[in-house]
Symmetry: C2
Subunit: 436 residues, 2 copies
């Protein structure tokens, strides 16, 4: 039984495991928990119970985020917000998101058992939509809390045509809905999606946001480390390239007379890889999608389209790499009698973590016996949206082989325990800094 | 008016142009003439008239090929067969196929006007199915004539479900069909598709097969030559490669820790290109189709599948290249921690032209003031099937930019005239060699 486990990291992992199947999943034989579904409500009910056991008062905010509050010594001081998301992708792993929420609950539980109050309240927030796996939008709930969501972003419907408005209406009225609402949660009245933006926290009411998350990458494992301090979320640039040559018969066109868009694209892809490798920093560049036209085995490709994704924690480094890539693409094209056109698909700015909080996290790691190590997050997280509201800190936890968004996602309970200890240390240090 | 043009190459081109629209095409706004359609029958009627004007007796064979015969000095001597196909791909060019038939008719017309008889009969054959654009099979008609067609190859239906059997039945009975049958053609009674194989010519009854065809490639144009002697049809090897790495998050997986199947495939494609380029012969190698999985811009590809097409007039050269490519692929895979699996899709043997006939063609080119030049055909032609029956010769004619299977297909009438003169020279030389 989950409840029989001693408090701490192992219980946090066990609780994630427990939420991996029905009624906490919307799919059979795997985990899929989407925003505002029956599985989502079931997970909130379990979380409500665990939050209450840890001494918290539980409520839903207007965006249907579940929030547990543990009062501080000073009742109205700005709160430390600890959270992550409880929605998942389809056929997901068990820890991407929920583990950060469970570790937050464990931290509060430990403080509560010890009768400790910090100089600030602590709120644990289980965000509802980070993955964007139901509605065609992502981080709706953390953007609402951070106050950076536009009203028109709420005009979305899921693939069955259910609008966000209707999904919220069903969710907030258990008598008409599923009957799975958190039993003791304070639920605000439903007032339409415009009400959604009222989930915004007042600026100044939040001291900081802390998120623990599995790394979803292989860096910590490769370094032999359980934990790492996140420096920020990488600036991401998405480009789309079109290489144009001449489609020709593969049998009748001699090698010398070809203008093969695909071998040109191959040379470009190796140039992109080389630029990122040579940088030897956190810079990554990826071609993930490619299409050759006309795409017949017996025709020399006349056109190739491919995506380029470039990320770094340092936007200037990312932009220098993008510039070098554009120059390399032009060079390859002109040396092969091809044309290349590159369009920008999107440009997401970097979201740096707070330097003082990073130092605090490093010190907490060292106190817990872990060598401080810093790394950038290449993936987006709720912390990215929350950075608009308050200083943010992120703790990455090693996961096996970097595998995520996959049922094979795995973490060692000992690593979760290490994260739990580091988070307690971080909270203590933050308390000392506020008191000082 | 086509009929007002003087005989020769320009008239052959004009006749192809005339057959490029209704009623000789099955599509509006372009050329599509498929086997056994109303447009096919209409083209046969026009050809019948032109063949008869050139002094030929016209018949249909059991595969619905149209054949015009010009008797020789020795009535029962094995015939010189001159031909190509009159079917086309969808939205085709006007010369791929018909030009070879028209030039054959022009050659006979010239002999007939001069009252010349060769020591052998000449038959002009308009093959019905080379492209395979109606039924899922290609070169049905030349394979039938050459006697290399299996009966079960005839169990085909077009995309409307019309079987070859039904198409032939409709075609052979004008009273029940379209009423477009060649007026004076001798038409065999319809006896089912088994009868089709009776289109086979008796071995020994054919002296040689001559086919003039547009090059469908850019070699002659690049060399500044109107004509070239074809050495044979290239041996073609089609392979399918699967490269396996590890799919990972494009944001969280550092460059050093990736096993990117697509950058691996890029290096392989450049190796394939390099092997073919370095060979500096007629060898060509092409990657025409590629697919990266999962194919999302934010995921490092874990698997890539691509086609490899390798051709050369010299099968041993082709096989050495294939071997070198396999070694290179293995080398790239092992240096990147990837796996590669290669499967053979098909292996078409080379179909060499007859060396004595090639010499004769070279001499005919020289006599007509064209520097002899030899090249391999990377594409398949009816001559490929006919090589099983008799010695074959092919003459390639320059086409603009190598463009074919496209309405932009173009040839210069002066080049067609050169081909006409070369064919007359070839026929004369063949006559001398038979008489000697």
């Amino acid at each position: 039984m989950v409840s029989a486990l001693p408090p701490g990291g192992a219980r946090a992992v066990a609780r994630c495991d427990m939420l991996g199947a029905a009624p906490y999943s919307d799919m059979a034989g795997g985990l899929y928990r989407a925003y505002l579904t029956p599985a989502y409500a079931a997970a909130q009910r379990a979380l409500t119970e665990w939050m209450e056991q840890a001494g918290m008062t539980v409520r839903l905010d207007p965006a249907a985020n579940l929030i547990g509050r543990y009062e501080g010594a000073t009742r109205d001081a700005p709160a430390l917000l600890i959270g992550s998301h409880i929605d998942s992708v389809r056929d997901a792993g068990l820890y991407d998101g929920p583990l950060g929420v469970m570790l937050g609950i464990e931290a509060v539980d430990a403080l509560n058992r010890a009768g400790r109050r910090l100089p600030f309240p602590i709120e644990i927030i289980a965000f509802g939509d980070e993955e964007g796996s139901r509605f065609p939008a992502a981080m709706l709930t953390s953007r609402a809390v951070a106050g950076v969501l536009e009203a028109d972003a709420l005009e979305v419907a899921d693939r069955d045509g259910v609008t966000l408005h209707d999904a919220l209406a069903s969710f907030r009225h258990p008598s008409e809905g599923w009957g799975l609402m958190p039993r003791n949660a304070k639920t605000p009245a439903f007032a339409g999606v415009t009400d959604y933006l009222a989930a915004r926290r007042a600026p100044g009411a939040t001291l900081a946001y802390l998120e623990a998350h599995i790394e979803q990458g292989p860096v910590l494992e490769a370094k032999g480390l359980a934990l790492g301090t996140v420096t920020g979320i990488a600036a991401q640039l998405r480009l789309s390239a079109i290489v144009t040559g001449q489609a020709n018969h593969a049998g009748t066109t001699t090698m010398a007379l070809r203008r093969d868009a695909l071998t040109g694209a191959a040379e470009m892809m190796l140039a992109i890889e080389g630029i990122a490798r040579d940088d030897a920093s956190d810079l990554v560049a990826t071609v993930g999608r490619i299409e050759a036209l006309p795409g017949a085995p017996n025709v020399v490709p006349g056109e190739v389209r491919f995506s380029i994704d470039i990320r770094s924690g340092d936007p200037a480094r990312r932009d220098r790499a993008a510039q070098a890539i554009l120059v390399a693409l032009e060079h390859v094209a002109s040396s092969r009698g091809l044309a290349v056109a590159v369009e920008q698909v999107h440009d997401l700015p970097a979201s740096p973590c707070d330097p003082a909080l990073m130092d605090m996290m490093d010190a907490a790691l060292a106190d817990a016996g872990h060598p401080p190590f810093r790394l950038v997050s290449g993936a987006g997280h709720d912390a990215m949206a929350m950075a608009a509201l308050c200083p943010t800190a992120m703790l990455f936890i090693r996961c096996r082989a970097g595998i995520s968004h996959n049922p094979a996602e795995h973490i060692d309970p000992a690593d979760a325990e290490a994260a739990f200890q580091a988070m307690l240390g971080f909270i203590r240090k933050l308390g000392e800094s506020v008191a000082a």
